[in-house]
C-alpha cells in the first residue's frame, strides 16, 4: 500500500511501541475487514451488510476470509496490519486467538473495532486496545430461546423432555448459546429436562440426520432447541418424516432469523426464532463515524436481538426483512 495512508493515523502515535487507544484521523479511506468464515446464510448476510455499509459511507474495503481457521485469521490480520489500513474491523473466530492481534494492531497505530464475536477482554480490552465491540449477545440469545421454549411448553411449571442440537463443538456461539439456554432453563423451569444433547455442526443435513436418530430413541420429547436455524430446519424435516407434527406435538426454537426458518414460524411448524442479526454493517459504520468525529464510545455497542413468533405477529412482520 502507499505509505501515505498510514500517515493519516494521529501523528502522536509511534508504530511499534504505542500503548494507548489509537484515534483514527478524519481522513479515513481504507477500512480492512477480517472475516472468520463465509460458509452460510448468516455470514453472507453479515459480509454483504458490511460491504454495503462501507460503500454507503464512502470507504474502500479490504477483505479477508479465514475459512474457520484461527491461524489463518491471525495471519490475515498480520497482513492487513502490514497493509496499513486506516481502520481495522475484526470478526474473530474465537475469543482468544485473535486478541493478541488486536493488541498488535494497536501497537502499529491502527484503530480496531471488534465485530459480531467479542475477543477475550482480559487479553485485549475495549477503550485501550480497541475502540469498541459491536455485536449481539450470544448468551442472551440462548436465554431468550429458553424463555420462548418454556412458554411454548406451558410455562415455568411445565414438565417435559427436550433435546438440544449443538452448533459445531468448541465454537463460541455454540458454547455461549448453550450456556445461556441451560442457565435460563434450569433456573426458570427445572421441570424441563434435556435428555439428549448432540452436535449437528450448524448444518442442515446433519441436523436432519441427528434428529432422525434421536426421535427414534426419544419418541416422547416435547421440544427441540437448535443453536441455529439451519439445524432446526433439518430437525423439522426429520420430525415430519418420523410422523410427528412439529408445532403441535413438538415445539422447536432456534436462533438466527433466516428466511427459511421465519417461514416455518409463520407456517406454524417452528415455534419461535430468536434473532441474531447479521446486518451489522450500518451499526458498525455509524459507530465508526462517531469514532472518527472523536465521540467517546461505549465498551459494547449492543445489537439488540428480537424474538419472532407466529402468535404475536412479529414473525410475519419480520419476514420480508429476513435474510
Amino acid at each position: 500500500g502507499s505509505g501515505g495512508n498510514s500517515a493519516s493515523s494521529s501523528s502522536s502515535c509511534v508504530p511499534g511501541s504505542n500503548t494507548k487507544l489509537v484515534k483514527p484521523s478524519s481522513t479515513v479511506h481504507k477500512v480492512a475487514w477480517s472475516q472468520n468464515a463465509l460458509d452460510g446464510a448468516w455470514r453472507f448476510a453479515e459480509e454483504a451488510s458490511i460491504a454495503d455499509a462501507a460503500k454507503a459511507h464512502g470507504y474502500q474495503l479490504l477483505k479477508t476470509n479465514a475459512n474457520n481457521s484461527d491461524v489463518q485469521q491471525v495471519q490475515d490480520i498480520q497482513n492487513l496490519i502490514n497493509d496499513h489500513p486506516d481502520v481495522l474491523l475484526v470478526d474473530p473466530h474465537t475469543e482468544d486467538a485473535e486478541a493478541a492481534q488486536v493488541a498488535a494492531a494497536r501497537k502499529a497505530c491502527i484503530p480496531v473495532i471488534v465485530v459480531d464475536r467479542d475477543v477475550n477482554e482480559q487479553l485485549a480490552s475495549p477503550g485501550r486496545d480497541f475502540a469498541t465491540f459491536v455485536g449481539g449477545d450470544f448468551k442472551k440469545e440462548g436465554a431468550l430461546a429458553a424463555d420462548a421454549l418454556i412458554e411454548a411448553l406451558g410455562g415455568p411449571s411445565a414438565k417435559a423432555t427436550i433435546v438440544e442440537l449443538d452448533g459445531t463443538t468448541g465454537s463460541s456461539p455454540a458454547i455461549l448459546r448453550g450456556g445461556g439456554f441451560n442457565g435460563e432453563l434450569s433456573t426458570k423451569a427445572p421441570g424441563i429436562r434435556i435428555v439428549a444433547e448432540q452436535t449437528a455442526d450448524f448444518n442442515r443435513a446433519t441436523g436432519q440426520q441427528v434428529m432422525a436418530t434421536l426421535i427414534q430413541q426419544y419418541p416422547d420429547i416435547k421440544g427441540v432447541f437448535a443453536h441455529n436455524d439451519e439445524m432446526a430446519i433439518g430437525a423439522i424435516t426429520a420430525l415430519k418424516a418420523a410422523g410427528k407434527h412439529p408445532g403441535q406435538d413438538i415445539k422447536v426454537v432456534s436462533i438466527d432469523g433466516t428466511k427459511d426458518a421465519v417461514n416455518l414460524v409463520v407456517s406454524g411448524e417452528e415455534y419461535a426464532v430468536v434473532e441474531c442479526n447479521p446486518r451489522l454493517g450500518p451499526l458498525v459504520f455509524d459507530t465508526l463515524d462517531k469514532f472518527v468525529k472523536g465521540d467517546d464510545l461505549p465498551a459494547w455497542v449492543v445489537q439488540p436481538d428480537r424474538v419472532f413468533k407466529k402468535a404475536d405477529g412479529t414473525a410475519a412482520a419480520y419476514l420480508p426483512n429476513a435474510f
Binding site: 452460510g40 453472507f44 444433547e197 448432540q198 448444518n203 442442515r204 432422525a212 427414534q216 430413541q217
Partner: protein, 332 residues
C-alpha cells in the same frame, strides 16, 4: 496321483472357507453392531429406523461404489466431495433460471439434472486424463480437482448458500414409493445392483482389475488401460454428481462451501472397511455397501446413545481401524 487328488479337494475346501472370511468379514461386524443396537437402543428394529439408516447412507454409498472402482484400478479419487458441491450449485443455478433463464421450474429441473451430471462426468474424465495422459499420480490429480472445483463452486455464486424447499427435484427425490420406500434408497439400490453385476460378469471389470493389479502387464495383454482408467474416473465423477443431487434433495439447499466437504474420506473408509484393498487389483461392491452401512450405523448408534461428540469421534476412529485390521487378518 491319488494323494495329489485328495490334497487338491482338501485345498479347495480350505479355500472356500477362507473366502467366506474374506467376503463376509465386514458383514459379521455389521451384524454384531445391529445386534448391539437391537439390545441397547430403543426402537431400532422399526421400519423407519431402517429406511432412515439407508436414506442417510445414500450419498456416501453412491460415492463409495465409484470409489471402489477407482481404488480397484490402484488409484484414488479425493475430488468427489467437491464434485458433489459443484453439482448441487449448478443444478440450483439452472432450475432457478439464473443460468439459462429457464423460468418454468419443472422444465428447469429436467434440464438441470442431466447438465449437472454431464459436467460431473466430464470433471471425472478430466481426472482420468490427468492420470493417464499426463501420468499425474491419482491422489495429486484429484487433489487438484478437489481444490479447483470447490473454488469454482464458491466463485460462481460467491459462496452463497441457496435454499429451495419447493423445488420439484426435492419433493420427488425425497419422497417415498408406495408410501414407505424412499426413492433415494431405490436409486441407491439400483446403482449398487448395476455395479455389483458389472463387476461380476463383464470384461470391463476384468480389465479394470488387471489395470489395477499390474498396469504394464495389462497393457501388454491388450487391455486398453488408458481408456479403462478414464472411464472409471468418469464413472466416479458421474456417481459423485448423482450423490450431489441426492444430497441437495435431502438437504433442500445447495451450499458451495460445505456440501460434500470431507465426504471422500467417508467413502474411502467405507471401501476399506468393506474389504477392498487400497493398493488396487481387487474390488467388492457388496463389501463397500456393508462398510458404508457399518460406519453410518456406528454414527447413529452413538447419537442414539447420546454419546458426546468428542468421545464419539474417538470411538469411530477406533472402530474403523479395528474393522480394517480384522479384514486384513482374515486375508493374511
Amino acid at each position: 496321483m491319488i494323494r495329489l487328488e485328495q490334497r487338491l479337494t482338501m485345498l479347495k475346501e480350505l479355500r472356500s472357507l477362507r473366502n467366506i472370511g474374506q467376503d463376509y468379514g465386514a458383514l459379521i461386524a455389521l451384524v454384531a453392531l445391529i445386534i448391539f443396537n437391537i439390545i441397547f437402543t430403543r426402537q431400532f428394529n422399526s421400519w423407519i429406523s431402517i429406511t432412515d439408516l439407508l436414506v442417510h447412507v445414500t450419498p456416501t454409498l453412491i460415492l463409495g461404489v465409484g470409489m471402489t472402482l477407482v481404488i480397484a484400478t490402484g488409484g484414488i479419487d479425493i475430488s468427489v466431495g467437491s464434485i458433489m458441491g459443484l453439482t448441487g450449485i449448478l443444478t440450483y443455478l439452472i432450475f432457478s433460471g439464473k443460468l439459462f433463464g429457464i423460468q418454468n421450474i419443472v422444465l428447469g429441473t429436467a434440464v438441470a439434472m442431466p447438465i449437472a451430471l454431464v459436467v460431473a462426468t466430464l470433471i471425472g474424465a478430466f481426472n482420468g486424463l490427468l492420470v493417464t495422459r499426463f501420468k499425474v499420480q491419482p491422489i495429486v490429480a484429484t487433489l487438484i480437482t478437489l481444490i479447483t472445483i470447490r473454488g469454482v463452486a464458491e466463485v460462481t455464486v460467491n459462496g452463497f448458500q441457496f435454499a429451495f424447499l419447493s423445488a420439484p427435484i426435492v419433493s420427488w427425490l425425497s419422497g417415498n414409493l408406495f408410501g414407505f420406500l424412499p426413492r433415494q434408497v431405490i436409486l441407491m439400490a439400483v446403482i449398487v445392483a448395476i455395479f455389483a453385476w458389472l463387476m461380476r460378469a463383464t470384461a470391463f471389470s476384468r480389465y479394470l482389475l488387471a489395470a489395477g493389479g499390474n498396469q504394464s502387464a495389462a497393457r501388454l495383454a491388450g487391455v486398453p488401460v488408458n481408456r479403462i482408467l478414464i472411464i472409471v474416473y468418469a464413472i466416479s465423477g458421474l456417481l459423485a454428481g448423482i450423490a450431489g443431487l441426492a444430497y441437495i434433495a435431502f438437504d433442500s439447499a445447495a451450499n458451495p462451501v460445505t456440501d460434500g466437504l470431507g465426504k471422500e474420506l467417508d467413502a474411502i473408509a467405507a471401501v476399506a472397511v468393506g474389504g477392498t484393498r487400497l493398493t488396487g487389483g481387487h474390488a467388492t461392491i457388496m463389501g463397500t455397501v456393508v462398510g458404508a452401512i457399518f460406519i453410518q450405523l456406528i454414527r447413529q448408534t452413538l447419537v442414539a446413545l447420546n454419546v458426546p461428540n468428542d468421545i464419539a469421534s474417538i470411538i469411530i476412529g477406533m472402530l474403523i481401524v479395528l474393522a480394517v485390521f480384522l479384514q486384513r487378518q482374515r486375508k493374511a
